[in-house]
Amino acid sequence: MMPSFFLATGIALIMLMALSLLRAVIGPTILDRILGGNVIGSKTTVLLLLIGLLYNNLGMFVDIAIAYALLNFIATLGATKFFLRRLSVFIEDSEREERS
């Protein structure tokens, strides 16, 4: 009974990740896209652990999840610092239309 429960939880997480991807695609500012990517990454950490439980090999997938959480954090900080350095970034789409 418990493996099917974990499978259903994983499928629900994938659907929520698709909804977060919608925000990352249509987001009006660049920082919205970074935020969507960050949320998807934190859901992927949990999803990796669920996959490890389904394959009865949790000891290996725990290390992968630790590495993925580290990568997600560093990627978010790096992208944020990059857009903080170049201040001439276009924040909104309407602003881009005004300037061009």
Partner: protein, 111 residues
């Protein structure tokens, strides 16, 4: 159906509920800062709840190896609990410096 399985189901369902609430907040709220607020809740609380539930389930046939794996799981939970507010703070600082306008009611003054 042991008591550890029931505790696992409760924790994982609570985490799934908070992930759902965070995703709905990200999609529906009107402003970047309010969306960031929803995402911060979703990241730190829901991920920690789900990882704690998995650690409890993994402890069921008790041995030294499963205890080690559960300790690593709680290590991930502590890591997420520290780094997720840090990332949220960094994004907020970038938005303030880049000049993202806060949302306000149409025609109203900022009180």
């Amino acid at each position: 159906m042991t008591i550890l399985s029931i505790l696992t189901i409760i924790l994982v369902l609570a985490g799934l509920f908070f992930f759902l609430a965070g995703t709905v907040g990200i999609l529906r709220l009107p402003d970047f800062y309010s969306r960031l607020h929803a995402a911060g809740k979703c990241d730190s609380l829901a991920a920690v709840l789900m990882i704690a539930g998995l650690a409890v389930y993994n402890l069921d046939p008790f041995s030294f190896g499963s205890l080690l794996v559960s300790a690593k799981l709680m290590l991930i939970a502590a890591f997420v609990f520290v780094t997720s507010p840090t990332a949220t703070h960094a994004i907020t600082e970038a938005a303030l410096v880049l000049g993202v306008k806060p949302w306000q009611r149409k025609g109203g003054k900022r009180s």
